[in-house]
């Protein structure tokens, strides 16, 4: 056992609270405060995964969001979550996790045999398999089986999620030293501040560096005091376990909070979401996102037991886990030294291979005092070991060039940590257009403190390249002072004391790939991106194959893809590509940083937008009546409309058959409340209607209604409906159900932008009115039972009239209009009484067996009459003439109307346009498929000229046969006589492999003279 627990007071785990958990079927113990990774490492766990391509043994590398290897599946069944990073899974009692790679077992992995042929699986391997059309299907099967990690849950998620919106003066992202200071200073200034941090507690790197001192206080005390003060400020909100994953325009930040993930499923609180998406709009955003240590790239650097140096430090100081007894650290900078001292003080044997010829003298002194051995000018040529690292061969490096200058010792060790410097976490800074700048002195792509201040974005601490605690805090203080000044505030009177115990820094060595004395590709594989198995040699190969842009190199090699998004690998990759290309790093640049910074669950993104709150469902006032009568519903726009009303044992066809016949022969009733209704008033209302409708409204008298066609600027039908003249300056327009909002905006747009001189106002009254359409020969007999103050006789109340009166004791506006061709009354009442009036009509109609019907029957009834449905029989390319509705166009109106000029466009005026006709199949039982293509002959061998398509098709119970509507080239001229069943012209309707012989006829199948609606 080389790893061991170090139960020190600064550890953030509670050694008094042991926990049990299971990994890959084996039981372990850990402590409260552990992550799954720290608890596994305490057991000396080395291999936790197999690599993506080669099946190589892999272990834990990092300690946070940067972890590339340790992807685990947590819990099982409906609660299971795939591909969590073990470094981010907070341990709870009873946690069950398993590996996501290694098949059939972790110890014996099939893919690892492929790994022996690694030289045949170089960069672009996947793309190269495409090149053989014959072999690709075989490759595909193998690759699909081999790829991927965990399993997505297949059961419905039992947990809930929600969204919350916040507004603040200042949003500080990151609760490390700089972020805490920024929140403190802006909070003291009285600003409305939100501080968010992705970890279980704020503190950032300070949690890993308890021996640091700030303002005379040890790091733990400094954090505690900061938090106490922040919590005492009512204007500061503090959120932990909240990861800001996207920064959008206008400083909108999206952050995912893990509310219950750290609790055992049995202890999660019902009603409280598992995770919450916060959308935060802040006047100023302070990015205190810190930096992530990048490892050095060397031979066999992927052997389990090789971590980043900072991860080793974090496991020791934060979690009380020494990951090995004999520790070899390799570094290019000062950052590893505190950890080296801490590990040595904890009892480890520590050797530091510092690639620099001279270490920082103060650090060297402190290291020596702790018993750390320092080897200056050495690097690791290759690590040794299979499933756990056992040692490393060092080489002497050239003082200036990254070349091997001589031999070095062999160091036996059980854990290796490496540090190639820090890479600022610039992701959020770049999401909305910021670009990071390469700073050669810092060897990092950095964000600037106030470079984006105009956009309200400020950066503090390590994200700006100020990696030292002292320099970071000083930079943060300066930047926050700028921020406060920009808001007219002054920093707190007592300036924060930011003096630390940190030695003055020494410059780092510029090194990314540690040389092994061999040409790239000839030594041991040196991995850049662990998750995608991208080695330094792959980047060189991509460049040899002439990839020049880093974006292309990324996609060819897969560098930086995956769940870690290259947090460890990107900068190394850019640097190695720059070397291979013979360019500088800034010339190569970075790939694009896009949201999300780290994976976000679909549940979090969906929030409450699922189940019965997935999408607004609009209901009419009569909905309860329909539900009680067993209606099936269908969404029309957002409305839930009755589709049909099946009786016991009835299917759709049976119900529609019965409903249609009731409407044609007795009486039926439909809820028409969903149609859009717009009240239009003003002295110019007739002028206005004349302009927005194709037909003429000049002479429509009060008390009368008229059907109108609304065209767009291109002369194409966009909506239709009946409009009633209430008084000379007051009309009520109806629109299609789905078109209501669009028509309202359309009317407002034309009125406000083009014709403001017209005295007219319009108001949506769609929701105010509930409408019941009573349809059929017996409809008058029903209505007369409930309405005594309107003379309903045919002579007094004609077709296309409307009357005000009282129905079932409720003031009503009754329209005698028809979408079925039958005698029909549409009763409109204040929707508050809609249910009452509907039930009264049902009761009054009971003696006639009044039959409620839904949209399906409505469609059949209107198709029997050839009435169009805008959006079904039209598609934005149909003029009124194409629809054979010239009667609804008032070409003689004195003022032009929308769409009129377009009628003279060559394409609109030409012949051979598709026109609406009726179709009758030779076989009356065949109901054509909507969308079936109209073709000239039954010969379907391509190419087949397409004349048009079927737009509506039903079985007509009244006719006892099928009917269809279609748009056909020059169809109007090819029709037989209206309603005549043997149209002259024969074509074929083709769908699903069958061509049915059809005749082109008028689309009016029933009552062509329109006598029924006038009775």
């Amino acid at each position: 056992m080389s790893s061991f627990r170090v139960q020190h007071a600064n550890a953030r785990v509670d050694f008094g609270k042991p926990l049990n958990f299971t990994f890959d079927g084996r039981r372990y113990d850990g402590f409260e405060g552990d992550t799954l990774a720290s608890a596994l490492l305490a057991y000396d766990t080395r291999m936790v995964a197999r690599s993506f391509k080669y099946g190589r043994p892999r272990g834990i590398v990092g300690a946070g969001a940067e972890e590339p290897n340790a992807l685990v599946q947590v819990e099982a069944g409906a609660m299971t979550i795939p591909n969590l990073k073990a470094t981010q899974v907070e341990l709870y009692d009873g946690l069950v996790a398993r590996r996501t790679t290694g098949w059939p077992t972790l110890e014996f992995d099939v893919k690892s045999f492929g790994g022996r042929f690694a030289r045949f699986m170089a960069a672009g391997f996947y793309y190269k398999t495409f090149q053989s059309r014959r072999l690709w299907p075989k490759f595909e099967h193998l690759i699909r089986h081999a790829a991927g990690y965990g399993n997505t849950p297949v059961d419905p998620d039992p947990e809930t999620y929600d969204h919350q919106h916040h507004h603040a003066d200042v949003l500080v992202i990151g609760g490390g030293a700089s972020g805490l200071l920024a929140a403190l200073e802006t909070g003291r200034a009285g600003l409305d501040v939100i501080l968010i941090d992705e970890q279980s507690e704020p503190g950032g790197w300070l949690l890993s560096s308890p021996n640091s001192v700030i303002g005379g206080k040890s790091a733990p005390v400094w954090i505690k005091d900061c938090l106490a003060e922040l919590r005492s400020l009512p204007n500061v909100r503090l959120m932990t376990r909240t990861s800001a994953f996207a920064l959008h325009d206008m400083n909108l930040v999206q952050a995912a909070e893990q509310i219950q993930d750290h609790l055992p499923p049995s202890q999660r609180i019902t009603g409280v979401p598992r995770q919450r998406l916060h959308r935060i709009r802040a006047d100023r955003v302070v990015l205190a996102t810190g930096a992530i240590e990048r490892p050095l790239v060397f031979g066999n650097n992927d052997i389990p037991g090789i971590l980043t140096a900072s991860a080793l430090t974090t496991y020791l100081n934060r979690y009380g886990v020494a990951c090995g007894s004999r520790v070899l650290l390799m570094t290019s900078n000062d950052q590893v030294y505190q950890g080296a001292c801490d590990l040595a003080d904890a009892g480890c044997t520590v050797t530091v291979a510092d690639t620099r010829y001279a270490s920082n003298t103060e650090w060297a002194k402190r290291a020596a005092a702790s018993g750390v051995e320092i080897l200056n000018g050495f690097g690791i040529a290759r690590a040794d070991g299979g499933r756990a690292v056992a040692g490393a061969k060092l080489v002497k490096l050239h003082a200036d060039k990254n070349e091997v200058a001589g031999d070095g010792p062999y160091v036996a060790c059980d854990v290796i940590g490496s540090s190639g410097g820090l890479s600022p976490t610039v992701h959020l800074y770049c999401h909305d257009g910021g670009r990071p700048i390469w700073d050669e002195s810092k060897l990092a792509f950095i964000a600037t403190g106030t470079g984006r201040a105009k956009a309200g974005i400020y950066c503090v601490g390590a994200v700006t390249g100020e990696f030292g605690l002292q320099a970071g805090l000083e930079q943060a203080f300066r930047t926050i002072t700028d921020l406060l000044t920009s808001l007219g505030k002054t920093p707190s009177r007592v300036a924060s004391d930011v003096r630390t115990n940190e030695p003055a820094p020494a410059p780092p060595r510029r090194i990314f790939r540690v040389p092994d004395g061999k040409r790239e590709g000839h030594g041991k594989k040196a991995f850049v991106d662990f998750q995608n198995d991208v080695a330094a040699s792959d980047i060189h190969l991509a460049v040899r194959e002439n990839y020049r842009s880093i974006e292309h190199i990324k996609r060819y090699t897969a560098l930086g893809f995956g769940t870690d998004q290259g947090k460890l690998s990107n900068v190394n990759g850019f640097a190695i590509a720059a070397d291979a290309l013979g360019k500088s790093i800034p010339e190569v640049g970075t790939t694009t940083y896009r949201p999300a910074y780290s994976p976000v669950t679909f549940g979090t993104l969906a929030g409450a937008h699922e189940g019965d709150t997935f999408e607004p469902r609009r209901y009419t006032a009569m909905h309860g009546s329909h539900a009680a009568r067993g209606a099936e519903f269908e969404p029309v726009g957002q409305w839930m409309r009755p589709w049909y009303f099946p009786k016991a044992g009835e299917d759709l066809h049976g119900a529609v058959h019965r409903e249609c016949l009731a409407a044609r022969r007795s009486v039926a009733i439909m809820d028409a409340s969903t149609l859009g209704k717009i009240d239009i008033r003003g002295k110019d209302v007739r002028d206005f209607l004349n302009r927005v409708y194709a037909n003429d409204w000049t002479k429509l008298a009060p008390g009368k209604c008229r059907y109108g066609l609304m065209l767009d600027e291109n002369g194409m039908v966009m909506d239709d409906g009946v409009t009633a003249c209430i008084t000379d300056d007051h009309f009520v327009m109806t629109t299609t159900t789905g078109g209501a909002a669009r028509v309202m905006s359309w009317l407002e747009k034309w009125h406000q932008t083009e014709w403001p001189e017209l005295e007219v106002y319009m108001t949506s009254v769609t929701d105010h009115w509930a409408t019941a359409a009573i349809v059929g020969p017996k409809s008058r007999a029903v209505l007369v039972k409930l309405c005594s103050d309107i003379d309903l006789s045919a002579a007094a109340f004609k077709f296309m009239d409307w009357r005000d009166g009282t129905v079932a004791g409720v003031p009503a506006r009754v329209f005698r209009i028809s979408f079925s061709g039958e005698l029909s009354f549409e009763v409109n009442v204040d929707a508050s009484y809609g249910h009452h009036v509907w039930e009264a009509l049902m009761e009054a109609g009971a003696e006639f067996n009044i039959t409620p019907y839904g949209t399906e029957t409505m469609h059949v009834l209107r198709a029997e009459k050839g009435f169009i449905i805008v959006g079904q029989d039209t598609d934005g390319s149909m003029t009124p003439f194409d629809l054979d509705m010239a009667w609804a166009v008032g070409m003689k109106k004195p003022y032009s109307f929308l769409g009129k000029r377009s009628f003279t466009r060559s394409d609109t005026a030409r012949s051979n346009r598709k026109q609406l006709v009726g179709l009758l199949t030779d076989d009356p039982k065949v109901v054509l498929k909507e969308g079936a293509q109209i073709i000239e002959t039954s010969n379907t061998r391509p190419p087949v000229p397409m004349l048009g398509h079927v737009t509506s098709s039903y079985f007509s119970p009244e006719l006892g046969r099928s009917i269809a509507m279609a748009v056909v080239r020059d169809g109007i001229g090819r029709r037989g006589e209206a309603g005549v069943k043997d149209g002259r012209d024969v074509v074929y309707a083709y769908a699903g492999g069958t061509a049915h012989r059809v005749k082109i006829v008028s689309s009016i199948f029933i009552d062509p003279k329109g006598e029924r609606q006038n009775v």
Binding site: H165, V272, Y619, R681
Partner: protein, 211 residues
């Protein structure tokens, strides 16, 4: 031929949830309390806020001035006038005042460029109170509730729908369209679940229109 109609039965948009039967007095056991304020009168008024004749005539007819500052409302007893846009207002009142207001508006605005439309069937209100009322709303709307001072009203998002929203006696009042009421209530209840929600009996002094 016609028989005497039974007394018409009025139903509110949230009738289906049976709120009346589950409502009880507010207490500390829930973070938020809500209920529908049903059966009010709603009148849409359009006209230019820059037209002095219109604002004077409307004020005369309503006994209350039209708010002309964006996102504000005026109130006098049971009548409230909500600014909707530079040329649109929503007047809410007790339902039994509706006919009188419609007629006095029609009379007063005769000859003035305007529109008055009864919309009473088309809207309802929901009151939300309790210690977490604001928290719950922050789950439902993108609007900065800190910017919604007393006397201010805003038309804003509510889930994927929209409402008019203003403060009302220790809580908030939502003005919403009938057809969206089901969605908005369900969304509200869902958003409130972490805090606990109860259906409250709001006394007569607590309606959104009359306080």
């Amino acid at each position: 031929m016609s028989k005497p109609a039974t007394a018409p039965i009025i139903q509110s948009p949230l009738h289906g949830f049976g709120l009346v039967t589950v409502a009880r007095a507010m207490n500390d056991t829930r973070g938020v309390w809500a209920n529908e304020v049903p059966f009010l009168g709603y009148i849409s008024l359009r006209g230019a806020s820059t037209d002095a004749a219109l604002t004077a005539a409307a004020a005369q007819a309503l006994g209350l001035s039209l708010p002309t500052e964006p996102c504000t409302f005026t109130r006098d007893g049971a009548i409230k006038v909500i600014w909707v846009s530079p040329d649109e207002w929503m007047i809410t009142c007790q339902r039994d005042r509706r006919a009188a207001l419609l007629s006095s508006l029609a009379k007063g605005l005769e000859g003035i460029r305007s529109q008055v439309a009864d919309n009473s069937g088309g809207f309802t209100q929901v009151l939300i109170k309790g210690r977490n009322a604001r928290d719950v709303l922050s789950h439902c709307t993108v609007y900065d509730l800190g910017a919604l001072g007393e006397g201010r009203v805003v038309g804003t998002t509510f889930g994927k729908s929209s409402v008019y929203l203003h403060q009302a006696s220790d809580g908030y009042c939502l003005l919403l369209r009938r057809s969206f009421a089901d969605y908005i209530w369900r969304y509200l209840v869902r958003a409130a679940s972490p805090y606990g929600i109860g259906v409250a009996v709001f006394g007569p002094g607590h309606s959104g229109a009359a306080e």
